[in-house]
């Protein structure tokens, strides 16, 4: 059997990335996207307003320990007598902004390096692409764990580790898109009119490749949340007193009979990840209604 001669440089982010199982939403894409946006908006509001709406101090250990939900608390208390509901709300203000920051930083770093690689080409391209190959050759989560462990457990280091493993997919996507437009007539026309490389990239290329990059970014927010909570769950992220969903689930493992300890932060992770993924899927379908991938949609936007 001969393999199709598609190189990894082709613009197909689903091939460049380790695939996450993807729902085929079909005509439900838009309504689910709106529902996802609503849930995500609620979570973002919670993240912003957490200090104001928490019924208790999420760090105060002044309630009866391991109390089931209902006795004056919505989601019970943990083994140190802290209010789980307040901690779940507080966790939103830790995980969501950090995940958004992580995705924004990955997009910025990846897009800039990818654009440089695609526009300049030659050895610069070679160098940047080999670095992305190097990073992408390892399983994401495991590489992030190794880096986070090497840097030392802290939320900042967890974000840094996640950043190191997540920018290459943006670099590859951007490079492919830039490469596709580089020789297009309007980019060449701009150059003939005396555009510098920066001006070509900014005026002619960037507006025309933004769509697919934003879709990938929106699909990645959920992944970023999972990765950060995952690192915290493993003890490589948030340090103990901090109310972080991943570390809350991790603590719950030690008190397995108290189901409320793990259920609520778990549900928080689930709802926020699903909400952001629905937004991403809807965005993708909106930008490219014909196919289930980004292929083709990117260059003709």
């Amino acid at each position: 059997m001969t393999l199709p001669t598609v190189t990894t440089d082709e613009v197909d982010p689903t091939k460049l990335r380790w695939r996450r199982p993807r729902l085929r939403l079909g005509r439900w894409s838009a309504p689910l996207g709106i529902a996802g946006a609503a849930v995500a908006l609620i979570w973002v509001l919670v993240a912003i307003l957490a200090p104001l709406i928490e019924p208790h101090d999420p760090l105060a250990q002044n309630l009866p320990i391991l109390q089931a939900p209902g006795h004056g608390t919505l989601m019970g208390t943990d083994e140190l007598g802290r209010d789980v509901f307040s901690r779940v709300l507080s966790g939103a203000s830790v995980t969501i902004p950090l995940s958004l920051l992580l995705v924004v930083m990955s997009v910025l770093i990846g897009a800039v390096l990818g654009a440089i690689a695609g526009f300049i080409g030659r050895w610069v391209d070679e160098l940047i692409m080999r670095i992305t190959d190097l990073v992408m050759a390892f399983p994401t989560v495991i590489l992030a764990m190794v880096i986070a462990a090497a840097l030392g457990a802290s939320l900042f280091n967890a974000v840094l580790a996640a950043l190191i493993v997540s920018w290459p997919s943006y670099a590859r996507l951007t490079r492919g898109l830039v490469l596709g437009l580089r020789q297009s007539n309007y980019v060449v026309s701009g150059q003939l009119l005396g555009f510098s490389a920066l001006k070509s990239l900014w005026r002619d290329i960037a507006p025309n490749i933004l769509g697919p990059i934003l879709v990938l970014a929106s699909l990645d927010i959920g992944t970023a949340i999972l990765l950060l909570s995952g690192l915290s769950f493993l003890g490589l992220g948030a340090k103990p007193p901090t109310a972080e969903w991943g570390s809350m689930v991790s603590d719950a493992v030690q008190n397995f009979d108290s189901w409320w300890l793990g259920l609520f932060p778990g549900l928080a992770i689930l709802t926020v990840v699903v909400a952001f993924n629905f937004i991403g899927d809807a965005l993708r379908d909106a930008l490219d209604p014909k196919s289930n991938t980004l292929r083709g949609g990117g260059l003709t936007l």
Partner: protein
């Protein structure tokens, strides 16, 4: 003709392969100010490669291209020096010539900025739209709101707004329908003459070329096989390839004759060099 605006000597363009494909095989030409020169030939004869090599999009294997007094470098990462923005290009496909995400007025404005940067007079994009036969109020619209012919007019406006001394047009009318072809071609000639610019007009449509070109170059397999005044060549083609090209034009004489289809045996005679077919001036 005094100092030509554009001159090339022995331009060779090769594409990698085994053996390498020599698309342009030693072409020398010179175009003066206010002169419209047509380059004709069949598909794949190297017309577009020559045009792209002339303006510097395509790498030249050898030979040189001079615009005025400066050499034309190949377009790369570096910004084109201002003096070279006096050379502009109109592409074949109007749909890919304009940035879909920018207003057409802004894109024509890029041409105006190029003219200003070179120390030439500025102009108003809306004025250019009017000059190419479009509504000046359309400056705020995006390219997808226009038809192919209109987009090509916008691309022409953008190129001319840079006040070029040389316009290279790579089959600018072949993607347009028959009714707009002639009007766009005539418009290009009028605007170039108006600006005193030279034009290299590439086409395989000989009847349009006859209307607008002062001189015609006939290209076959990467070489210029016949050149000279358009009317001279039209009336009395010497080279067998030119004769075959002209014979292939349908004649609307009502007699219902079909144009002559070239035979494979003819192709052998087309590659021969006929020195007297070049630089023909007198009728």
């Amino acid at each position: 003709m005094t100092v030509p605006v554009l001159s090339t000597s022995d331009v060779v363009v090769e594409y990698r392969g085994r053996p390498p494909l020599r698309a342009v095989d030693g072409v020398s030409l010179a175009i003066g100010a206010g002169e419209v020169v047509a380059l004709v030939g069949e598909s794949g004869c190297g017309k577009s490669s020559l045009a792209r090599a002339v303006i510097g999009i395509e790498k030249r294997a050898s030979g040189s291209v001079r615009f005025g007094t400066s050499d034309v470098p190949v377009l790369g990462i570096r910004r084109r020096p201002h003096e070279l923005t006096g050379m502009q290009m109109v592409f074949q496909d109007p749909n890919s010539s304009l940035n879909p995400r920018r207003r057409v007025g802004d894109q024509i404005g890029d041409g105006v900025s190029a003219a200003l940067a070179r120390g030439e007079a500025g102009s108003d994009p809306a004025e250019w739209l009017e000059r190419v036969g479009l509504d000046p109020g359309a400056a705020r619209s995006y390219p997808h709101e226009f038809s192919g012919g209109q987009k090509q007019r916008i691309a022409i406006a953008r190129a001319l707004a840079a006040r070029p001394a040389m316009l290279v047009a790579d089959e600018p009318i072949s993607a347009l329908d028959a009714s707009t072809q002639t009007s766009v071609a005539a418009l290009m000639r009028a605007l170039c003459l108006d600006a005193g610019a030279g034009m290299l007009f590439i086409s395989h449509d000989l009847s349009v070329v006859r209307r607008i070109a002062d001189r015609t170059l006939v290209m076959y397999r990467g070489r210029i096989v016949e050149s000279g005044h358009t009317e001279t060549i039209w009336q009395d083609p010497i080279h067998p390839y030119t004769q075959a090209l002209l014979a292939a034009i349908p004649v609307p004489d009502g007699a219902g004759r079909l144009p002559i289809t070239p035979q494979d045996a003819d192709r052998l005679t087309w590659t021969e060099a006929i020195p007297e077919a070049l630089e023909r001036t007198a009728p």
